[in-house]
Amino acid sequence: MSIFDILFYLFAAAIVLSAAFVSLSRNIVHAAFSLLFTFLGIAGVYVLLSADFIAVSQILIYVGGILVLIVFGVMLTNRVTNIDIRAAIRSRIPAFIICAGLLALLIAFITQAHWIRYDEEPWKKTPWGKNAVEQVTKPLQGSVREVIDQQGSQGTAAEIGKLLMSDYMLPFELLSIVLLVALIGAAMIARQEAVQKKRPLSPSLPTEVSQ
């Protein structure tokens, strides 16, 4: 078992435990902070999967952006004197059945399906697989990790940048519009009612003005 495997299982344990804490904790502030460890653990697994750019994006977007937003949400909706901070539990049995069924289904799929690798036959024959196998195994045979160990990684940022600016140009640009619309919409929804109904001028005029 290599150091990467040990790290992976450590990260996996951290992810599962902290996620369970998020899902089950009675204290919403503790849940928010536990979410931090889930996100960091996932970023660690991304690094182990040699997805460096995505790992950094994970830390920047999730930890730096979404988690801060969530903590803001917690602080804004949770008065210190508010006892209703605790989340109650409703209709446990159907929810439990759904969760158990989903877990059983997913685990059954994962254990029984034959997952092909980049160097196996059916995937190799597809046009994407051909590219992938050329990309990965042109210089050396072996897993991506072994290739990286032997010749060093160039990182994935350059590759992702090329893909974003060529094959995925339109989704990329559309995404910027989605973000813009979402941010304007969020600001519209969350702001105070600044546009209250315009009161008729005369009754609300201050007295000294009307004199």
Partner: protein
């Protein structure tokens, strides 16, 4: 390197934990965090497949999912805050004005 199925198993467990949170909890912000957990589980699956198939497209998809998640976080929290301002609660069982 750990086999693909281990990565997928972690991702599946994470997804089910998120589902459990969405189904069991009534606090809108907790539900919100659990939706983020589910999105992260999907991202983990995509990255694992991307690595094991040697194709970078999965990472592009993760990038897109992250961006949409950021937009969703902004809009969702804005809705939660507007809800709290109007109803003084984040209990999703008490938010029933759209129910018939």
């Amino acid at each position: 390197m750990a086999p693909l199925s281990h990565y997928l198993a972690v991702s599946a467990i994470l997804f089910v934990i998120g589902t459990a949170g969405v189904l069991f909890r009534r606090n809108a912000i907790i539900v919100f965090m659990c939706v983020e957990l589910m999105l992260n589980a999907v991202n983990l699956t995509l990255i694992a497949f991307s690595q094991f198939l040697g194709d970078q497209t999965g990472q592009i998809l993760v990038f897109f999912v992250m961006t949409v998640a950021a937009a969703e976080a902004a809009v969702g929290l804005a809705i939660v805050i507007a809800l709290f301002r109007n109803r003084q609660t984040v209990d999703i069982a008490k938010v029933n004005i759209l129910k018939w």
